[in-house]
Amino acid sequence: MIRSYDDLQNRRATLQTQKPKRLEVIVCAGTSCLSSDSDIILDMLQKDVLDRGLDIEVEVVKSGCFLFCGQGPMLKVMPDDVIYVQLTLKDVNRIIEEHIIKGNIVTDLLYERDDKKRAKNESDTPYYKKQRRIALRNLGIINPDSLDDYLEYNGYEAMARAITKMTPEDVIEVVKTSGLRGRGGGGFPTGLKWKFTRATKSDEKYVICNADEGDPGAFMDRSIMEGDPHSIIEAMIINGYAVGANNGLIYIRAEYEIAAKPLFKALIDAREAGLLGKEILGTDFSFDIEVKLGAGAFVCGEETALIHSMEGKRGEPTTKPPFPSEVGFRGKPSNVNNVETYANIPPILVHGADWFNKIGTKNSKGTKVFALAGNIENIGLVEVPMGTTFREIIYDIGGGIPNGKKFKAVQIGGPSGGVVTEKDLDMEIDYDSLQQAGSMMGSGGMIVMDEDTDIVEIAKFYLDFTQDESCGKCTPCRIGTKRLYEILEKLTNMEGTPHDLELLETLSENVKNASLCGLGQSAPNPVLSTLKHFRDEYEDYAYRRKRTAYVVDGQKCIGCTKCARVCPVDCIAGKPREVHVITESDCIACGACYDACPVDAIIKP
C-alpha cells in the first residue's frame, strides 16, 4: 500500500535502482500487431527463453503500440535498442539464437528504409524522426499491465503533487496556462472547462472520460487505453481533485471491450496500491472510477448523448446550454474530457505549464496525435507538435503515396471534417487553420487518398455513415442527411442533373444551421469541402459525362487474352497477340480485367 507522497517516492526510487536484466525483449501488443499474431510471438519467446534457461538474464514483456502499425508485428531489444519488424513465427528462433545468445543483429529483420538501408532503431527511422511524444510517451516502453513500470517512469507523480501540495485552484491554473485544448473534437480550452465545473455548486460532481472514439479511422484513444491505462486514471484523479468530484466514469464503446482489458486491470491495481479509492495518499481526498460500456452509436461520443447513454437511456443529445459542467450525469455537474486530453495532463503538471506552452502554435499548444491511414506508405500513429504541416506528416513521416500514385486529398476530422488538397499541403496544422480551410481537427483521423479515389464516392460514404448514425431526434439531421445521401447516390448512379449540385449546397447549409447537435451541424462538411475542391468531378456525374467503363490502352496491350477470359459479361473482344477492345456499353466496371492484366494496359474509369 502506498499511503503517502513519501511512500510513493520511496517505491519509485526502489524501482528505479533495481538492476535490469541483461536484455529486455519488448513485444508490441497493440491492436494491429496482436491481430497479426504478436501474442503468439510473445508466448513463444517467453517459453523459449525459459526452456533454454535464459530467463535469469533475459526478460520478455509486452508493451502498448509501437505506433508504426503497418510494420507489425514488431519487437524491440533493449538496451541494445534494436527494433525488428514484420515478424513471423519462424523468426523467433533466429532472434533468440543470433541476437539474444550471440549478440548479433539479425539485419534482414530490421526495417528497410526507402533508400534501401536498414534502420536499427527509432532514430534511424524517418517515421519516428519528426515525432514528439507527450500523450503517447509511454507507449512501446512500459508494460501496460504493470503498475510498477508506470511508477518507474514517473507515474502518479503529478497526481501526488496535485493532491498533497497544490490547491484545486492551483491545478486549474496550471492546466489553463498550459493552453491545452480538448483533443476530442471541439478544441475547448481544458482549464476553462475545469474552472466552470469547479464553479458550479453541488453536493456531488462527476468526472467523465470520453473513450467512445467514434471517428472511423482513428485509433489513438484505443492505443492509449491499451498501452498506458494508468495515465488516464492518474489524470482523472487530478481532474476530480481540481473540480471537486469524487466519482469518475469512463465511457468505452462496445467494440473496444477487449481493448479495454488493460484498463480494467489498471483500475484494480491502482485501487490495491492505494492510489485510487478512499483517502488517497493519506489525504482526505477520495476518488474512484467506474467503467460504462456503450453499445454502438456514433452520436454517443457527443457529451450530452454520452451522459444519457450512461444513464441507461437512448443516447440522444440535448441542447446546450445547460452544459454538462452545470447539468450532467444524474443531473449533477460533470466534466467531460477525451482520452488524449487526459493523457496530456500528468506531463503538464510535472513539467509545468510553460514547458507545454512553448510547444505548438499561437492558439494551439502541445502536440496532436494523428492516425495515419488510407493510401499511404506508412500506416500508424503519429504524434507531432501542433503546427506541423501536412506535407511533413504525409511525406516525411508517412513516406508518401504507395505504388507511385499521385496524392489527391487527405480527409481530416472524420465524418465531421473535410478534405485538404495539394495546395494546402504546406499549411501548419492547428485548430484554427483547419477550420479556415473548411475542415476540422476532430479526433485526428487522417485518411490519405490517392489519384484513383473517387471523391464523390467518398462524400457519399461519409453521408451514408452520418445518415445511418443520426439519432433521429431532430428533423434537419434525420431527414436532411438522408436526402443528401440520396442526391449523392442519384449522382453516382448517373441519374443526376446539374440542379442537384445546387440542391446539395443549399441543403447542406440548412442542415448545418438547423441541426441540434454537432453531428448534424458538421455532417454536410465532407460534401461541402469536396464540392469546393473537386467540383469538376461532381459535374462529371451531374452532366453524365463520367466514364464508367474500363478501357484498353492500345499501346500497352500485348494481346494475352487474360482480360477477355476473366470478364464476367464477355464484353472484351480481341484475337491472341492483338489489341483487345472493351465494349463500353456492356462493361459493368467490375475491375476483373484490371486485376488480371499483366502489363497494366487496362485504364480505370
Binding site: 472511423p216 467494440e255 460504462k292 491511414a373 488510407g374 493510401n375 480527409q411
Partner: protein, 170 residues
Amino acid sequence: MKKAVLDMSQFDQNKLNELDAFIEQYEGENKKESLIPVLYQAQKIFGYLPHNLQRHIALKLALPSAHVNGVVTFYSYFSEKPVGKNTLSVCMGTACFVKGADKLLDKALGITQSKRNEITEDGQFTIKDVRCIGACGLAPVVTVNDKVYGKVSEKEIDDIIAKHQEETHD
C-alpha cells in the same frame, strides 16, 4: 380484465436464471441505469434479444417495455434477430473503405448467398458491416467472431469463410 402473463416457455430456464441473477446485483439508482449492461448480458446468454425477452427485462427492471425496445433498437450492438454460429464482420471504417472493404462485403454476401445482418440458410453465418474496429493499420479488416484478419484480399475471403465453416462443422 385478466392480466396477461408473459409466456417464457420458449426460453431455456437455466439461461433465464442466469440472467435474473445478473439483474439481481443492481439496486436503487443503479437499477434504473443498468439497462444497457443487462441487455449486454442477455445478448451474451441468448445470442439475441427477442421481444419477449425484452418484456421480461422490462418487468424485472420496472421499466416500460417501450423504453427497453427504444434502447434496443437505438444501439447497433443489440440484435432482435437470431445470429449465425459465426459472425463475419467487414469493417466499413474509412481506412478500410478506402482500401476496398465494400467489395469484400459484397464478396462475402455473394459466397454465403445471404443478406446483410441476416442469418444464412444453414445457420452458419451472419455477415455484417461494422464501424472502425481500431485496427486501421491492417486495413481492410475482417473479423470472424473474435479473430481479426488484416489486409484481406478478395481471394482470401473464400478461405476465411471456408475455414470457419469447417471448424463449426467439426
